[in-house]
């Protein structure tokens, strides 16, 4: 869990999530306000530099987290640039390269890249529990937030259960051949469904035992210099937006 490691170990771990969310949002607004691909790239590089040099996220980890999204962006860009038209039969497939749309496609890709760096800034500097509390401040529906809280927590519990079950299956030659592997995977899946059901009942009992009768309520974290940090984030974020307006 690279994102997790980074979110809990970066220099800005204890900075208010409101400040980080505000800066990230300004980054997204700047991405849409960017009038040219170069401006979008400049904003993307500012956001990536702030994440790497400001928050102290190692550049190798940053690249590893960004890689899948970058590959997806590259594939999307290519599919916009290059398309195939189907003729009367399969043998008459003809490629179509959109040279006239090149500038627009590049602009879209650069904007997407900027949005990606803005979101990576938030994801790599803020633990999900802080992001959930930020969303709670934004008045997102309680049910959605409760689901997010429980899913995030049970993700780790279930990944541990998967690991343990697979180890137990491997120890009894559960993955010795392709057909046995298929059977074992089926068993693993069935076992997980039962576990999910049992654990949901246990969580319900535990919630009742601790006096819960509705949505999940938690204490909001206190952050040092919260107002100062929010002001700094908002100011630098606005400067970033202003830069996109000034630049061509």
């Amino acid at each position: 869990m690279l994102t997790e490691q980074s979110a809990y170990s970066n220099r800005w771990r204890h900075v208010s999530p409101v400040a980080k969310g505000c800066f990230s949002l300004c980054g997204i607004i700047a991405a849409f306000a960017a009038g040219s691909p170069c401006t979008a790239l400049l904003i993307a590089s500012i956001l990536a530099s702030v994440t790497v040099f400001g928050a102290g996220v190692p550049i190798t980890r940053y690249m590893r987290v960004a890689a899948p999204a970058l590959i997806f962006l590259l594939a999307s860009g290519l599919s916009l640039f290059l398309s195939f038209s189907l003729g009367a039969s399969i043998s008459t497939i003809s490629p179509h390269i959109a040279f006239s749309e090149l500038r627009g496609i590049t602009h879209t890709c650069c904007r997407s890249l900027t949005c990606l760096t803005a979101l990576l800034f938030l994801a790599l500097t803020t633990p999900l529990s802080d992001i959930i509390s930020l969303l709670r401040l934004c008045r997102l529906p309680e049910t959605l937030l409760d689901l997010m809280t429980l899913c995030y927590r049970t993700l780790f519990v279930l990944s541990e259960a998967v690991h343990e079950t697979m180890t137990a299956q491997t120890a009894r030659l559960g993955y010795a051949s392709f057909s046995i592997s298929l059977r074992s995977l089926g068993g693993l899946f069935a076992n997980l469904i039962v576990q999910v059901w049992q654990r949901s009942l246990a969580l319900h009992l535990a919630a009742q035992a601790r006096g819960n009768d509705g949505s999940l309520r938690f204490l909001r974290n206190n952050y040092n210099h919260s107002c100062r940090n929010i002001s700094i984030a908002a100011t630098t974020g606005c400067l970033m937006i202003a830069l996109t307006i000034i630049l061509p």
């Binding site: 204890h14 529990s129 969580l203 035992a209 006096g211 938690f218 909001r220």
Partner: protein, 285 residues
């Protein structure tokens, strides 16, 4: 006269699948007393605890707190659960949030307390269980023992009069068991009534002031560890007797009486002390 804080009167309960978990079970828990509940797997320990916390409601019979039958209304349950804290066996089944502080705040927030009060309670609970250093770690990066302590802190933050722990020592190494025992001692000294379900007879013999033994959903024996754990039927049900008690008895048979003014050693350390004292007495003419 005994001061019963909780009482079960002829309680029977069967699960929807037909399993009869409690059968005309009557027992009492005394105030400010360290109580241990023993019994084989499936004897009804967890079902008993779920009744004490009001999660399960008896099919017949009644559960009383301070000699008043439990009020199963919404407000009644809220009041009951603020007074009786329940810690389950598996910590992964009761930790809701990935943040330690957030999870501990869950109970007090449900009580509708103000933010500053909850904040103070969370910090106090973290200090009591010795987890203040790990408060900013994510729950999934904690060890099993640390997760158990977070669970206990989550219940302590509700400041209950009674804390019920379902097999708290299961899965803990010796050092963690010692630490947990010290934490429990601290809570008991602070005036809390503690009820523990365990399979560890040596721990029960050394720690408990009152022992309850369940068999097939009914009360088999109740009394002090000396009275209960050396009974033959209890021995048969539990499959063993505490090692210290057995050794003391065997030593007595060969003429080494470790009793000190009638008090028998209850733990390994007490037994070693008694042997040293006995050796000293033998040497003194």
């Amino acid at each position: 006269m005994t001061d019963n804080i909780l009482k079960l009167e002829n309680v029977s309960y069967s699960y929807p699948d037909g399993t009869l978990a409690l059968q005309s079970c009557s027992l009492a828990i005394q105030r400010n007393i360290r109580t241990v509940v023993l019994g084989a797997n499936g004897a009804g320990k967890t079902t008993l605890f779920l009744h004490l916390n009001g999660i399960l409601r008896p099919n017949t019979g009644r559960v009383c707190q301070n000699n008043i039958p439990l009020d199963y209304s919404r407000n009644g349950m809220r009041a009951l659960r603020s007074r009786i804290g329940l810690v389950f066996q598996n910590p992964d089944n009761q930790l809701f949030s990935a943040s330690v502080r957030e999870d501990i705040s869950f109970g007090p927030m449900n009580l509708g307390l103000g933010e500053s009060i909850v904040r103070d309670r969370v910090e106090n609970a973290l200090l009591t269980v010795g987890m203040i250093e790990s408060a900013d770690k994510p729950v999934h990066n904690l060890s099993y023992g640390q997760k158990k302590r977070v669970c206990i802190a989550g219940v302590l933050a509700m400041e209950p009069e009674i804390i019920i722990l379902d097999e708290p020592m299961a899965g803990l190494d010796s050092v963690m068991q010692e630490e947990l025992t010290a934490t429990l001692e601290k809570l008991h000294t602070a005036g809390m009534t503690i009820i523990i379900a365990t399979h560890d007879l040596d721990f029960a013999y050394g720690w408990a002031e009152d022992v309850i033994v369940l068999k097939n959903g009914h009360l088999l024996a109740n009394g002090t560890p000396d009275e209960v754990l050396l009974q033959n039927d209890v021995k048969v049900t539990l499959g063993a007797t505490p090692l210290v008690a057995e050794l003391t008895r065997q030593l007595c048979l060969i003429g080494i009486d470790l009793r000190d003014k009638g008090y028998l050693p209850r733990s390994k350390s007490e037994m070693l002390k008694a042997i040293t004292a006995h050796t000293g007495r033998e040497r003194t003419p």
